[in-house]
Structure formats: structure tokens, C-alpha cells
């Protein structure tokens, strides 16, 4: 067997062994931004709790129900070439995932509102309650009246068996222009 083939075999054998073991998580602000240089390629590998954002708004002193902000869009054939709305929606759900991760990493008693992810998720909730959408698809699946204040929750949810756990509830916040 030629040397190249041996090297290829050795590399993938080593890679397989690393998958079997527990890997250490190395974190840092630079690594966060440059993590694309160290991809782990573990897509959709584990079923578990998924962080979901819910919003509600207050209109004329009455609070609406809680509404899930989660990307659900209609498929189109041309989306394989140009799909900005779906990709934006997916990036927003990715932001929610990072927010949940940041909250988990906060020390007890720390102020979550200082997190950049908290502030960005606040903007997401604000846009959702104001009727904004991903392209032409509203972020929440309900038509709401104009609201003066809003509030959002982060819940960790398991699809099967259905289970929901509140992780954070924001204070009541005023909408802005």
C-alpha cells in the first residue's frame, strides 16, 4: 500500500478515536469569532432541549397571549439560489441558541441584560411583536394590535416528550420607533 493511502487511513482512524472520546471545549472571544477555522462538523447530531423565544405585548392595558418566535417559512424552488429570508430567520434562531448558552454561562446573580445576545434578542422580540417578518413571513403566527409594551421569555423546550422550562423572563419593555 502506498504511503499516501496509509496516511489517509491513519488520519481517519485518529479522527474516529477523537469522536469516541470526550472532547474539551475551548472558549474565548477570539475563538468565538474565528470558530469557522475550527469546524467540528457535528450537524443535527443530538436531540435535546431547544431554546425558544416567546413574546407578548400590551395593548390598551391588556396583555396578549404568548407567541412563539420561530422560523417557519414557505418553500420555493428558487430558494436554492436565493434564500435571504430563510437564512436570516435561521441566523436569528442561532442567535437564540447563543443567548441560551450565554445565560447558562453567567455566574449566579449576574445581570443578563448586559449580554450582547440579550440586547439582540430584545430587538428580535421587539421586531416580532411589531409585526415584522422574515421577508413576507411574519415572525409570529398571529395578527396583533399595535402594542405599547412587550415582554419576552426564553424557554427550553423538548419536542418529544413535550416539555417546557422557563429560563428567563424579561422585564416589561416599551416599544420604540
Amino acid at each position: 500500500m502506498e504511503l499516501t493511502a496509509v496516511l489517509i487511513l491513519a488520519y481517519f482512524a485518529l479522527l474516529f478515536l477523537t469522536l469516541r472520546g470526550r472532547s474539551r471545549v475551548i472558549q474565548g472571544p477570539w475563538l468565538f469569532f474565528l470558530r469557522a477555522f475550527f469546524p467540528n462538523w457535528k450537524f443535527f447530531h443530538a436531540v435535546g432541549h431547544v431554546p425558544h423565544v416567546y413574546v407578548r405585548g400590551e395593548s390598551a392595558g391588556v396583555w396578549t397571549d404568548w407567541h412563539l418566535v420561530y422560523p417557519r417559512l414557505r418553500r420555493r424552488w428558487h430558494h436554492v439560489f436565493h434564500n435571504p429570508a430563510v437564512n436570516l430567520a435561521l441566523s436569528h434562531q442561532n442567535l437564540v441558541d447563543h443567548f441560551a448558552s450565554d445565560l447558562n454561562g453567567l455566574p449566579d446573580g449576574a445581570d443578563a441584560s448586559q449580554l450582547a445576545t440579550y440586547q439582540l434578542v430584545t430587538r428580535l422580540a421587539h421586531q416580532a411583536i411589531r409585526g415584522d417578518g422574515w421577508g413576507s413571513t411574519p415572525m409570529i403566527d398571529a395578527a396583533l394590535p399595535p402594542v405599547q409594551r412587550f415582554q419576552f421569555e426564553l424557554r427550553m423546550e423538548l419536542p418529544e416528550p413535550a416539555h417546557s422550562e422557563l429560563m428567563l423572563r424579561s422585564p416589561e419593555l416599551a416599544v420604540w420607533d
Binding site: L19, P39, F43, R75, H82, P84, N87, W134
Partner: protein
């Protein structure tokens, strides 16, 4: 595959993928009202002191538009078959800047694989300019891309095969229900446990066996012909169109590097 053909196909497909991505970013200039650089910049480390001011210039307003236009031009030149070490370096730098704009990744794995392609291009041009041997440069660049892309399938397949929820097929149904174009209809064929198990095993074993492509060029052709179908299905159910093009751009490298 002959080196010349592989290089030409790689450049064209990478250029096409970058073009589509950049046009989407351009559209998002108006569509994204959640992202805010004034908030995101606080996550960038304060040291070295020149980083934040530099990013302020290029990741908002006209600076960001200029960055996208530059990337668009570079993608078009690549598509046309022209590349130089300076254009490869510019493409690499714009890719890194975009990582900061989108908090490390806009679209996860597709950004990672695009960066692999752009890095491969830079390696090819860098090695060629240092050694004066264009062929040697391209060999280095294409092997770099190949190692990453084959590893991506191998890892992605085996991490699933090692988990009971994937082996039973249950995970696939759960993820399809959570997909952007989901949930599955109540009568979907994927809700049948046997079908879900069969489909899960089929594509995870196919992914896990992808390194075999390196040992025989016929296997490489088979893998690279099946792969677009796989990625199209991923797009169809999860909306991940960028994955389709980012991975497609790497197959000429695999076909070139396959032994025999």
C-alpha cells in the same frame, strides 16, 4: 480528474457560491432589522486597540456595502477563471471580516466550508507565488480542501451513527419537524419508524464511508454524484441552500485527489 479541469471547475463553483452568498448579504442590508453593529462590537475584544475602529469602518454603512461590492467583484473574477495571489488574499480577508459581522458565522457549516474553499484558494496562490510552481500550489490547495470536505462527511456521519436516537430513526423525524419548512405532515412517510430508520442509516453510512472516495476515483465519482442529491434534500427540508453550493464547490478537489 485532470488538474487543469479540477482547478477550473473548483474556481467556477467557488465563485458561483460566493456570488450567491454575497447577493443574499446585499439583500439583507434592508431585511435585517435585528442585527446591530453598535451592540455586536462590544463582543469584539478591546485589545489590540485598532481592531474595533477598523471593524467599525468596514462592517457598517458604506464601508460594509463597499466590502460586499468588493466580494462580488472577486466572486465574478473567480467565476470567469481569473485569480491572483492578491485577489485570493482579499477574498480571504473579506471572509474573515464577515465572520465578525455575523458573530462568527451567518449560516454555520456553509460559512465554514466556504472559508475552507477560500483558504484552499489562498494556499494554492501562496504556494505558487513562493515556489514559482503553479501546479504544486494547486495540488496543495486542492488537498487542503479535500481533507476538510471528506472529514466533514466522516464526522457528520459517525457522530450520528454513534447515537441511539439516530440509529432508531427517531432523531431524523424530530429534526425534520423542527425544520424551517416543517413540520412534516401528519401522514408523511418519514413518520413511519421503518422508513425513518432506513433513511437515517442510508445517509449516515454514506457520510461515514465518504473517505473511501480517496482510495478509488470510481468511488469518488459515485460519492460526488450522490452528494448533490443529499445536499438538495437538506436544502429542501431545512432551507440550507448555501450548504448545497458550498459543498458542491469542493467536489472537483475530491475528484482530483482520489487515488487510482
Amino acid at each position: 480528474m485532470e488538474l487543469h479541469t479540477a482547478v477550473r471547475a473548483f474556481m467556477a463553483l467557488l465563485g458561483w457560491s460566493l456570488l450567491l452568498q454575497t447577493l443574499e448579504f446585499w439583500r439583507l442590508l434592508r431585511m435585517d432589522r435585528v442585527g446591530s453593529w453598535s451592540i455586536q462590537r462590544t463582543e469584539v475584544p478591546a485589545r489590540p486597540a485598532w481592531v474595533r475602529p477598523l471593524l467599525d469602518q468596514v462592517l457598517q454603512g458604506s464601508g460594509y456595502q463597499g466590502l460586499l461590492i468588493l466580494r462580488l467583484v472577486l466572486a465574478l473574477t473567480l467565476l470567469a477563471g481569473w485569480v491572483h495571489v492578491s485577489s485570493a488574499l482579499l477574498l480571504f480577508v473579506t471572509s474573515v471580516l464577515l465572520l465578525f459581522r455575523w458573530r462568527g458565522a451567518f449560516n454555520g457549516g456553509s460559512d465554514f466550508m466556504t472559508l475552507v474553499g477560500v483558504s484552499g484558494l489562498l494556499i494554492a496562490q501562496g504556494v505558487a507565488s513562493i515556489t514559482g510552481e503553479a501546479e504544486q500550489g494547486w495540488r496543495a490547495g486542492l488537498w487542503y480542501v479535500t481533507v476538510y470536505v471528506v472529514s466533514s462527511y466522516f464526522v457528520s456521519g459517525w457522530v450520528k451513527l454513534l447515537r441511539p436516537e439516530w440509529r432508531s430513526g427517531r432523531a431524523m423525524t424530530i429534526f425534520l419537524d423542527g425544520g424551517v419548512y416543517g413540520p412534516l405532515s401528519p401522514h408523511s412517510v418519514y413518520r413511519h419508524p421503518t422508513v425513518a430508520r432506513l433513511v437515517s442509516w442510508t445517509f449516515t453510512v454514506w457520510e461515514g464511508c465518504f473517505p473511501l472516495a480517496l482510495f478509488d476515483v470510481r468511488i469518488a465519482w459515485f460519492m460526488c454524484c450522490v452528494a448533490p442529491v443529499f445536499h438538495f434534500l437538506v436544502y429542501w427540508y431545512f432551507g440550507l441552500n448555501r450548504f448545497f453550493w458550498a459543498w458542491l464547490a469542493t467536489y472537483p478537489a475530491v475528484l482530483y485527489c482520489a487515488l487510482g
